[in-house]
């Protein structure tokens, strides 16, 4: 079966926000009333919707993961991480009390190295879990690797990437992309990926060129200012430059670099007769980011308007002189509750709708070409994972 074409792309996002809204609303409600425990089931419901509205060639994807397995994965991670950390904590407090600062430093360093290793492990396990729960035409993906090797590689490559002033970060991240994707498979076929870090260096050099340029320009301005050196004006200008650099220039460079990273890495992925591509340009990423920011602001303002409305109503109602104190209390209580609700409901919807936008963005810019042989695409024989991405969740990295 041929894949993709000028009139019909291989991937298509078919969801719409009105159909997603009831899912997001009820997920928010149930997450609140269960003190957050429902969020595992909420994640499963969200993904079921995202996957079921993502068409690949002639059929939608299916998410087969369950809330229960995410929950148990989280519990396992909680115990596996929590118990050793608790014991180490007692040990460290004892060492601190006896003034052995060096030993505390060494143990803390070991803990951080271990946590770093675990982050690599979690990334691998998360990807493996998601592929194993992604089904298309009744066939799912997975991996037979446990992820320990990737975690070790993640640890040292990330450190090596940062050491020479960060110059090797593109090399480290593309190598790690290759390592984790080439350990994955879908049906009987292994993924292939060989992103070239060289293609990223031009954009990565912006991280060095722009700050240097800014410093030179700043220096020049100060020099030209001559007598004014150290004056209020120069101080304000310097502060302005720093703010512009950290809040505008740096995020934009990161975005420009990340756009290239996504194009290069995803564009190198192959699966049997299929080739993948990712078409989002920097400006698309910028619009995505601005849209997500806009969602936050929108939710905040809707919440504010609601809160002011109910607050004003409450104040109006309680102005009567001969008001029964019980009625007054009930009025204050219910208007307080309504203020709380009018804030919490819009803010509660921001997270799900940002994930919705991110997923739709990802699918809209995914492309694939080549051939799929359905007869040869037989069921994956990878070992079934029993629990979800608990570790990723424990590190608060479980986006989408």
């Amino acid at each position: 079966m041929g894949v993709g074409g000028p009139d019909r792309t291989a991937f298509e996002w078919q969801g719409n926000w009105k159909a997603f809204l009831p899912i997001a609303l009820t997920n928010g409600l149930l997450t609140i009333v269960t003190l957050g425990i429902y969020r595992f089931w909420a994640t499963a419901r969200e993904r079921q919707y995202f996957w079921a509205n993502t068409r690949f060639i002639d059929d939608q994807l299916e998410w087969t993961g369950k809330g229960k397995e995410l929950f148990f994965g989280f519990l396992i991670a909680l115990v596996a991480l929590g118990v050793p950390l608790f014991i180490l904590n007692i040990l460290v407090s004892r060492l601190m009390l006896s003034g052995q600062g060096a030993a505390v430093g060494i143990i803390t360093l070991i803990i951080y190295i271990l946590l770093f290793w675990l982050i690599g492990f979690a990334i691998f396990r998360g990807l493996r879990y998601r592929l194993s729960r992604t089904s298309w035409h009744g066939i799912h993906g997975g991996s037979d690797e446990p992820g320990m090797r990737f975690a070790t590689s993640y640890l040292w490559k990330t450190i090596v990437g940062f050491l020479p002033l960060g110059l090797l970060i593109p090399w480290a991240s593309t190598r790690l992309f290759k390592e984790r994707w080439e350990s994955m498979s879908f049906g009987p076929h292994s993924f292939r990926a060989d992103p070239r870090w060289q293609s990223l260096m031009k954009r990565f050099s912006l991280f060095y060129i722009l700050p240097t340029l800014a410093a030179v320009l700043g220096g020049l301005a100060l020099w030209k200012g001559g007598d004014d050196v150290g004056s209020v004006g120069a101080g304000v200008a310097a502060a302005g430059l720093i703010v512009i650099f950290f809040y505008i220039a740096l995020p934009i460079i990161s975005l420009v670099y990340y756009a290239a990273y996504a194009r290069v890495t995803v564009g190198s992925v192959r699966l049997a007769g299929l080739e993948f591509a990712f078409t989002a340009r920097s400006v698309d990423w910028l619009l995505l980011g601005l849209g997500n920011l806009g969602l936050w602001l929108l939710a905040f303002f809707i919440g504010l308007i609601g809160a002011l409305t109910f607050g004003g109503l409450g104040a109006l109602l309680s102005q009567g002189d001969q008001m029964d104190p019980i009625v007054a209390m009930a009025t204050a209580g219910s208007s307080g509750f309504l203020i709380f609700l009018s804030f919490i409901i819009p803010l509660m919807l921001v997270g799900p709708f940002i994930r919705y936008r991110n997923w739709a963005f990802f699918i809209r810019h995914m492309e694939a070409g080549g051939e799929v042989n359905l007869e040869e695409l037989t069921q994956s024989e990878t070992a079934a994972l029993r629990q979800g991405e608990g570790l990723l969740d424990a590190f608060d990295m479980g986006a989408v």
Binding site: Q14, T26, L29, L30, V33, T34, L35, G36, I37, W41, A44, R45, Q48, A52, N53, D58, D59, Q60, E62, W63, T64, G67, F74, L78, L81, G82, L85, F86, N89, I90, L91, V92, S93, R94, M96, L97, S98, G99, Q100, G101, V104, L115, W136, H137, G138, I139, G187, V372, L374, E375, E376, L377, T378, Q379, D393, A394, F395, D396
Partner: protein, 358 residues
């Protein structure tokens, strides 16, 4: 046979999509289609798998890969046979969203209440030997910063004996740390800091503070505080997954205002029984409160936030506990008091510990 309906089918072995027709009756259905073997299944073996754009998909209990998709619209008699759709999961689908939410709110409120109250109930049940082992692991010998001479040891023991608190033995030590404070630690350990001894004018002043810390130990406040922090971190772990942060807060423990007041009451009772004058302790708090008076009303407001009752209120409590006509004697002799105060100076191999990391 009651009817027929088109379905699509994946066998879970290859990705080939089959177009098929099911012929269904009250017990089950038969399925035939292009390039596939004739199949027959009971309704009871079918499970709901999810919703797709064309219709719901169903799987088989015994075969994880097998699925059929049933395109909408469904005839009513077919809908009646198919498994019910799962929306929210588990029992919520059975009882309905609103009743389930109300029930969950009640359960959650109970869990929060339990988590707040449970430590006070559970703490007395934790064997003292466990708490002692934890205390030893956490505190050790303070890196050699405990001040002790044979005389100071005897004097402290004499003071504890005079106060005569019943229960497991408490272990009182002087720490060579310049802070005006004393702490109760897990396992019946009490540390008196050097700074407190320098601030105190006589042994009776120390007796009130010591009684207070013994009160914390007898009330198992240390264990309550440890358990509360643990419970809190687990609860927070449910809502927000920054476990490292939650676990770190375990290290720093403090007691509630009620626990502090009760420890004062305990101290006052010990002193009354032992016929030690509470005036000295009251005077000690009076001196401490001078610093607070300068802050005036701010201090009053602040005392509701901080865990220790304001020194002025504590002073009053101790002052008013004096029974008129009671005969008081100093808690220990003047020489014994000197031995305690000078313990850090006279201990040849004690280390100075002001660089304590907490």
């Amino acid at each position: 046979v009651t009817g027929t309906h088109p379905v699509w089918h994946y066998d879970g072995r290859s990705a080939v999509r089959h177009q098929a027709t099911i012929t269904y009756g009250p017990q089950g259905f038969e399925m035939a289609g292009d390039g596939m073997a004739f199949q027959s299944h009971a309704w009871a073996d079918l499970v709901y798998r999810g919703e797709k754009r064309e219709g719901a998909i169903y799987g088989l209990k015994s075969d994880a890969g097998w699925q059929i998709g049933v395109p909408d619209p469904l005839p009513d008699d077919l809908r009646a046979h198919l498994p019910k759709p799962q929306r929210y999961g588990g029992f919520i689908d059975k009882v309905g969203l609103v009743p389930a939410s109300i029930a969950l709110v009640i359960i959650s409120a109970g869990v929060v209440f339990g988590a707040m109250k449970a430590p006070e109930v559970v703490a007395p049940l934790v064997p003292m030997s466990w708490e002692r082992a934890m205390g030893d692991a956490m505190v050790g010998d303070l890196g050699g910063r405990i001040c002790e001479t044979p005389e100071s040891r005897k004097a402290i023991d004499a003071m504890v004996a005079r106060l005569g608190s019943k229960g497991d033995p408490v272990e009182v030590n002087i720490a060579n740390i310049n802070m005006v404070n004393a702490v109760a630690l897990p396992g019946g350990k009490i540390l008196i800091f050097r700074g407190l001894l320098q601030e105190a004018k006589n042994a009776d002043e120390l007796a009130g503070v010591l009684g207070h810390e013994i009160g914390h130990i007898r009330n198992r406040d240390v264990m309550v505080s440890l358990l509360r922090q643990m419970g809190l971190s687990v609860l927070l772990g449910g809502a927000n997954s920054d476990m490292a942060g939650a676990l770190n807060s375990l290290a720093s423990s403090s007691f509630s205002r009620e626990a502090e007041s009760e420890a004062d009451d305990y101290s006052i009772k010990l002193m009354q029984k032992a016929r030690v004058s509470p005036d000295a302790t009251a005077g000690f708090f009076d001196r401490l409160s001078e610093g607070e008076e300068e802050m005036g009303q701010a201090a009053e407001a602040f005392s509701y936030l901080s865990s220790h009752p304001m020194s002025e209120k504590r002073e009053k409590a101790f002052r008013q506990s004096k029974v008129s006509g009671a005969q008081h004697t100093p808690v220990i002799s003047a020489e014994q008091w000197r031995a305690i105060v000078d313990a850090c100076a006279n201990d040849p191999d004690v280390k100075v510990g002001d660089d304590l990391l907490f």
